[in-house]
């Protein structure tokens, strides 16, 4: 096991007042965002929110129209800064006739102090794929190989674009395990994902982008609590129309025997329900999930 790497004192990556325009389209509209040392940051956002643009600026593939993007205090175009970066991108088709070991070896050669091959293979559990040609791998195995290439240089900042798309449940769990392991070693990780449960399972902090700016930022719990709504579910003789007019009830519907109510003040409604129906059973109160929070946040911005 490696000791955690010394942490960089400033943010490992930052956007400061970043604008990016393509003609009349404002892909980024004053983005301010910092990636802190040793954190796993998940960037969420609907399509067109500016995620891809933010990512390509962070990787030095494009220049901002205005504002500053930095990794480790330097321009992402500087080689010294990029040598601390590991990357896993979407929509890359690697050479089908190269073996996984050779692909990792090539990427390793770009770094100052890469991991030994066996360590990369162990950590990503790709040892059984090492001698297979890339073109012969399944979709999930290809993603795992790309993941191995992303981490082989001991990056201090690991950037993963939708890393677990196409992985089966087992492979996804494995990748999550490895990501947690890397965070323990001091790696900062930025990932974009469509799977909200992935952000819930992994992220120290979640940032929601919409229309090229940050509309919410915080821990998963903080983001969830942005949305005050809760769900009450119970078995009762009451019908949706009986409760819909109660103050604080946003929605009520019947799901087989259960009554499902969306409310803003759960305690008050629960008291009212219990008082109205003495035979009420199986009462459950749950907080809105990240998915509900995300939908509500992005819809508000769209309006």
């Amino acid at each position: 096991m490696y000791a955690p790497q010394p942490l960089y004192p400033g943010p490992v990556a930052s956007f400061t007042g970043v604008y990016k325009r393509y003609g009349n389209v404002h892909a980024l509209d004053g983005l301010d965002l910092e990636v802190r040392p040793g954190e796993l940051l998940a960037i969420l956002g609907p399509n067109g929110a500016g995620k891809s643009t933010a990512i390509s600026l962070l990787l030095g593939l494009q220049e901002p129209s205005q504002g500053q993007v930095a990794i480790f205090g330097e321009s992402p175009r500087m080689m010294d800064a990029r040598r601390k970066l590991g990357v896993m991108m979407q929509e890359v088709t690697l050479a089908p006739d190269m073996r996984v070991r050779e692909l990792i070896d090539t990427t390793s050669s770009y770094y100052v102090d890469p991991m030994p091959m066996h360590e990369v293979l162990d950590l990503t559990q790709t040892a059984s794929l090492a001698n297979k040609p890339y073109g012969k791998l399944s979709g999930g195995q290809k993603r795992l190989s790309q993941f191995a290439m992303a981490i082989c240089g001991r990056p201090k900042l690991l950037f993963l674009d939708e890393p677990t798309v196409g992985l089966d449940v087992q492979a996804r769990e494995r990748m999550w395990f490895t990501l947690r392991e890397l965070v323990k070693r001091g790696t900062s990780i930025v990932l974009t994902t469509h799977y909200l449960e992935e952000a819930e399972a992994l992220a120290d902090r979640v940032v929601v982008l919409a229309k090229g700016r940050v509309i919410a930022s915080g821990t998963v719990n903080e983001i969830r609590s942005v949305v005050a709504r809760k769900k009450i579910s119970c078995v009762t003789a009451l019908e949706p129309r009986d409760v819909r007019h109660w103050s604080g009830v946003q929605d009520a519907r019947r799901d087989q025997q259960r009554l499902e109510i969306t409310v803003t003040n759960a305690e008050k409604i629960v008291r009212q329900l219990l008082a109205t129906d003495n035979d009420l059973t199986e009462l459950e109160v749950s907080r809105a999930g990240l998915a509900e929070a995300f939908n509500e946040l992005t819809q508000e911005t769209a309006q």
């Binding site: 990787l59 890359v92 690697l94 070896d105 090539t106």
Partner: protein, 270 residues
């Protein structure tokens, strides 16, 4: 006892300076790794290897041996035929290897990925150049061996060495042309475009041992392949139409122009 936390602004530069520099040995290793795997990939791709090696060899055997019959060849003509086919053989790996290979890698996102990764400057392209040179060296050696063994061509060691050197270095301008094509067109479109340029160029620059129509003979000079052949003829000690230094300058200029436009295009669109 008090603990003073250093302010970030004070420690930032120190940390940045402390980041380990890439030692030259590792940098060279990165270039070598790219080059080695590029050669390996070429050797694993019969679809590329067979036409680039088998085609020049077959054509040379046909024109240089079969058509010659049993009568002893005119030494000068035999060398001219050999020169034309060796130069034909070095143009293919450059134009096809880089033109199609690079266009494919751009289309597949590999070029973008490598730009995001800390790949040393142009290591992928230098690897491809190295691979094209290796293939050229292989074909030239094969052709020279066939020429001296079966086609009754007499070569001194000096002639063979100079012709090989011209061939291997001659790959560079055609790799530059390939790179330009590869930076302009998609992977799917590249084979058609490369063929469209390659075969007319080979014919119109007079590399094949049949005379061009009069009107085209002077026009042959516009093709880089013509100038490469001039250098090869000079290397073999044969008379040339132009001063070989002029041909060398034309090729260097051609490579420069191709690289300039390829770089401009890649900086704009990636």
């Amino acid at each position: 006892m008090s603990t003073v936390m250093p302010s970030p602004s004070l420690t930032l530069p120190a940390v940045r300076n402390a980041s380990p520099r890439m030692p030259i040995s590792r940098l060279l290793r990165a270039y070598w790794t790219e080059a080695r795997y590029e050669v390996l990939r070429t050797l694993r791709t019969p679809a590329f290897l067979i036409p680039t090696i088998a085609l020049p060899v077959m054509l040379y055997v046909f024109f240089g041996i079969v058509l010659q019959g049993s009568k002893p060849p005119n030494p000068q003509i035999a060398l001219q035929v050999l020169s034309g086919f060796t130069m034909f053989s070095v143009i293919g790996p450059g134009v096809f290897g880089l033109g199609i290979g690079f266009a494919m890698e751009r289309q597949h996102g590999i070029v973008t990925l490598k730009r995001a990764q800390p790949m040393p400057f142009a290591a992928n392209l230098i690897g491809k150049l190295f691979s094209a040179m290796s293939i050229s060296l292989l074909v030239i050696t094969l052709l020279l061996t066939i020429a001296t063994t079966f086609a009754h061509v007499e070569l001194t060691a000096g002639q063979a060495a100079r012709a090989t050197l011209v061939g291997v270095l001659g790959v560079v301008p055609f790799c530059a042309l390939g790179l330009l094509i590869g930076s302009l067109v998609s992977g799917n479109g590249a084979p058609a475009i490369v063929n469209l340029i390659f075969f007319p160029m080979i014919y119109l620059s007079g590399l094949f041992p049949f005379p061009l129509p009069k009107a085209l003979q002077t026009a042959a000079m516009i093709w880089p392949a013509f100038h490469l052949n001039q250098l090869s003829l000079a290397a073999l000690g044969l008379p040339t139409q132009l001063n070989p230094w002029i041909s060398a300058e034309v090729l260097i200029g051609f490579a420069g122009v191709c690289l300039y436009f390829a770089a401009r295009r890649l900086m704009r669109v990636g």
